[in-house]
């Protein structure tokens, strides 16, 4: 797939000597939803801020569809829409005025039909003449998205788009992001909510202490780093694992009442059939079984532990 955004050897050291980013290399594919995960202070917002022109890079370069963000900033920035993490809006302007202002700021001639479409898509049309100060938090969040979409960007950055919003609004937001992707917009989002990334992202990058420690397709990541476990509840507690079952690397849990088998769900052979036969041969009877699969959250937590 074609690359629309290319980050190369990007580093950022603030005046306080805090190194926020360390030699980041990242390519974003056209039309994908890319989720950037990381704990607080990992460098997610700094990375986005550099790409969008808000913070200066110390080293390295960024190209947006081939345009360098410094030398050819006009072409690069015109392609980008940014929804910041904080609800930073004016207070006394109307919804219509502020969204129209954003479109002009990004060098586009007035287009009331487009502004109307954006406001309708974000359920803000009824509020178009209201002052921003009268909007609820959720509406302000949507207004920031409307401002970012006002100039028809090809790349949309969503920095913590659902931070502090209720469950229904989160679902609406996810739906909106999917529809934007369907219309051809490339989306890069940072989030604290792993389920959000799991739900929406095509690819995932994990950043920790200014380093991009992993970038992979979500499905591939879940396959490679995800675990599937089968838990057998035994009829009779087992004091020790029989040596004949050593090859399965079983785990004895709940005072010998449970046997846990971890396997590769995507593998050609899971080993489940062989295990059940060997259990039968060893005279171990189980009364119930269930399987579980690790979530992206489990993977993220384990990656963060490794990074420490």
């Amino acid at each position: 797939m074609q690359t629309i955004l290319s980050v190369s050897e990007l580093s950022k050291t603030y005046d306080s000597r805090f190194q926020a980013l360390k030699r980041i290399n990242l390519d974003i594919r056209r039309g994908e939803i890319f989720a950037l995960l990381g704990p607080n202070g990992a460098g997610k917002t700094t990375l986005i801020s550099i790409i969008c022109g808000i913070v200066k890079a110390s080293e390295g370069s960024v190209r947006v569809d081939g345009h360098d963000i410094v030398a050819d900033y006009r072409a690069a920035r015109a392609m980008i829409g940014l929804v910041p993490q904080e609800l930073t809006t004016d207070a006394f302007e109307s919804v219509w005025a502020t969204v129209s202002f954003s479109r002009g700021l990004f060098g586009k001639p007035a287009n009331p039909a487009h502004i109307e479409k954006v406001l309708r898509d974000l359920s803000l049309w009824e509020k178009k003449d209201n002052k921003i100060i009268t909007l609820s938090g959720g509406m302000k969040r949507r207004l920031l998205i409307a401002k970012a979409l006002s100039h028809e960007p090809e790349i949309l950055f969503l920095d913590e788009p659902t931070a502090g919003v209720d469950v229904n609004l989160r679902r609406d937001m996810w739906q909106l992001v999917r529809s934007l992707q369907a219309s051809g917009v490339t989306i890069i989002l940072t989030t604290h909510y792993i389920d959000e990334a799991e739900e929406m992202a095509d690819r995932i990058g994990v950043i920790s202490k200014g380093e991009l420690i992993l970038v992979d397709d979500k499905a591939e990541l879940m396959r490679k780093l995800g675990k599937k476990q089968m838990t057998l509840q035994l009829q009779t507690p087992l004091p020790l694992l029989p040596p004949a079952l050593a090859a399965y690397q079983l785990e004895l849990a709940s005072d010998g009442n449970e046997l846990i088998y971890t396997f590769d769900a995507q593998g050609e052979r899971t080993g489940i059939v062989a295990l059940l036969e060997d259990l039968n041969d060893a005279g171990i009877v189980f009364k119930d079984l269930h399987t579980t699969q690790s979530s992206l959250e489990d993977i993220f937590v384990s990656l963060m532990k490794e990074a420490k």
């Binding site: 940014l82 006394f92 700021l105």
Partner: protein
């Protein structure tokens, strides 16, 4: 040039003036009218003519200059400081717009407001005292140059300030005293010789003097010097703004 962006910023700033008409226009006009009532009518009638001009008429250019300087600085500094304060500056910094375009739009809007205000005050003054404008083109030139120059100064203050106190500091502690002591209400020829010399270090003297010359053909210092000093301030402030943009001072980390 990103004309759409400049237009958007300019209209956005002008719209703020419309929303705050009472504070932006009516308030300065009322306070200036009070000066005319007190100094022009009440006290001015007891003061002799200065260089052949009635006192009430004499103070008109100085009063306009007082409003022009303070409003230019206030409008421009608030215009750029407020997005910094609310955080909406992110949008300005991430837009495909050059620093020159940003400065031109903000300074243009601030200067426009001040010029409109100056003309309103001039019209208001006409209600209280007989007015004459000997050199209307020069009068407009000084009006525009001063408004642009001090809007640039305000823009610099707005970027420098990181709280509301600092935003008020320069207008209250520097601009207003210098304007009052810069010959707005008197001719510096009325001062003792020592103070006449000291006053020449006050840059506002040259602005007021040049502006008054355009009205009454009478000035404390030569009009050429006034114009040169105004252009010098303009050059200095332009240089500071260029430096701010080059370094990203207080704008980009």
């Amino acid at each position: 040039m990103n004309w759409h962006a400049m237009r958007a910023i300019y209209l956005f700033e002008m719209a703020r003036t419309r929303r705050t008409l009472l504070q932006s226009v009516i308030s300065p006009v009322i306070s200036t009218s009070l000066y005319f009532v007190v100094f022009g009518a009440a006290i001015g009638s007891r003061i002799d003519e200065i260089e052949g001009i009635s006192y009430g008429a004499f103070i008109v250019p100085g009063l306009i200059m007082l409003s022009l300087l303070t409003q230019s600085v206030a409008n421009a500094s608030f215009g750029i400081y407020f997005p910094k304060f609310t955080g909406t500056i992110y949008e300005l910094l991430s837009a495909p717009v050059s620093y020159i375009e940003i400065a031109a739009a903000y300074v243009g809007a601030a200067a426009s407001k001040s010029i409109i205000l100056g003309l309103i005050i001039l019209a208001t003054a006409g209600l209280f005292v007989p007015l004459q404008v000997a050199h209307p083109v020069w009068m407009l030139l000084f009006l525009v140059l001063t408004a642009v120059t001090f809007s640039l100064f305000g823009f610099i203050i707005g970027i420098w300030a990181d709280n509301f106190e600092k935003l008020q500091l320069v207008p209250l502690l520097i601009i207003t005293p210098l304007t009052f002591l810069g010959g707005s209400f008197y001719s510096i020829n009325m001062l003792p010789p020592v103070w006449q010399t000291i006053t020449l270090f006050n840059p506002v003297v040259y602005l007021v003097s040049g502006f008054r010359w355009s009205f009454y053909d009478a000035a404390d210092v030569g009009v050429g010097i006034s114009l040169a000093m105004t252009l010098l301030f303009l050059a200095v402030f332009l240089a500071v703004v260029a430096w701010i943009f080059k370094t990203g001072y207080r704008l980009k980390s």
